[in-house]
Symmetry: C2
Subunit: 211 residues, 2 copies
């Protein structure tokens, strides 16, 4: 929209750039041109130059891009180095796997709390945190002021939770539930992880190959 605004098409591609650059860096490659990178990533050189240039002139004419530097820059853009406090809602099987197997620091988050309504779960320790009852949400948020919520609850619970979380200052949701946060809370930032959506699209694609 306004100048300086970065389109979501560009943002969506950033983590992939970050991943490819990370690999190249690990392999000890020092520089790469937009056309070489384009070939690896199956994009056009033009698109890469356009994308990167939205954020500044990271390249150098006649040379290309310094991988180490570009990797750092993209990380910075994505906020990898920030430290956003996040809480986990729902500590069922999925919540536990997510909480214990992700290194949130690498994405710029710190998990500061975990909540569930199940008395069999409340009090247990997950990812080094004692699980609180969801009743404590208001109190906890007023004290710790988390800005992100990871929703690993059924969609029935998600609706009510979002109604509470938004006024409590939660700005962003990492949403594993099927509740459509964006349509009810258009100002919230939302990243959905809808397993079944992905599977349905895969089903479509498999059905419609070579058409």
């Amino acid at each position: 929209m306004k100048n300086g605004h970065i389109s979501s098409s560009v943002i969506k591609r950033l983590p992939r750039y970050y991943r490819f650059l990370g690999h190249l860096k690990k392999q000890g490659v020092l520089r790469i041109s937009s056309s070489e990178l384009a070939e690896k990533m199956r994009l056009t050189a033009s698109q890469i130059r356009q994308d990167l240039n939205r954020f500044g002139g990271f390249g150098q004419q006649g040379y290309g891009y310094n991988i180490e530097l570009l990797y750092e820059q993209i990380g910075e853009i994505l906020g990898i180095n920030s430290d956003v406090k996040a809480i986990m809602l729902g500590v069922g099987k999925l919540g536990v796997v997510v909480a214990e197997n992700m290194d949130f620091k690498k994405q710029g988050f710190t998990l500061v709390g975990a909540f569930d309504i199940d008395q069999n779960v409340v009090g247990k320790t997950v990812a080094g945190l004692k699980v609180n009852h969801t009743d404590c949400l208001e109190e906890f948020c007023k004290e710790h002021k988390p800005k992100a919520a990871f929703l690993c609850v059924p969609s029935s619970a998600a609706e009510e939770l979002c109604e509470r979380l938004v006024p409590l200052g939660i700005k962003g949701f990492w949403n594993f539930s099927h509740y459509d946060i964006k349509s009810e809370h258009p100002n919230a930032e939302v990243e959905n992880v809808h397993f079944s959506d992905a599977l349905m699209r895969l089903s479509y694609k498999i059905k419609n190959t070579d058409k």
Copy 2:
């Protein structure tokens, strides 16, 4: 591209339509107009009519869309009713959660096999299936001819696995690893579930709100 080709922008929206229609159906709503649905989903009525019309005239002038019917049609388009054989690669914590908590039938898949290289896991039962050693992959695929693979392995293992799976007739990948299948196997159908990508984008969005 060619006429009859459905753009991926449209495909991406289909599961969301399906979800909203499912809710409306459950609520007992019988019909809906494109403008009512647009308001609920925060889309434009135009877009909804365009999207649906790619697949046929499901609506009726002066009336709108029959919810039950449209729901069924979109399900059919997505291949919800097909029965694609799928295998799970990697039965670690994530693989187990995915295998045991998804109702694959609802997305048109049947899980017919599970594989791991860890001898502590091989032989165990997951989602009703005995876990095989990955060494048996070739034999198994020749016998059962699965068309989809669910990759819940580290990216180091994913590369080699894809090299084996593609020649074995796997057409589609549901990829939880960070290995970039598409850039090495451009003809494979791929749906990525990259947890950390979503988190990085969320980080970006939180950092750049109200800009």
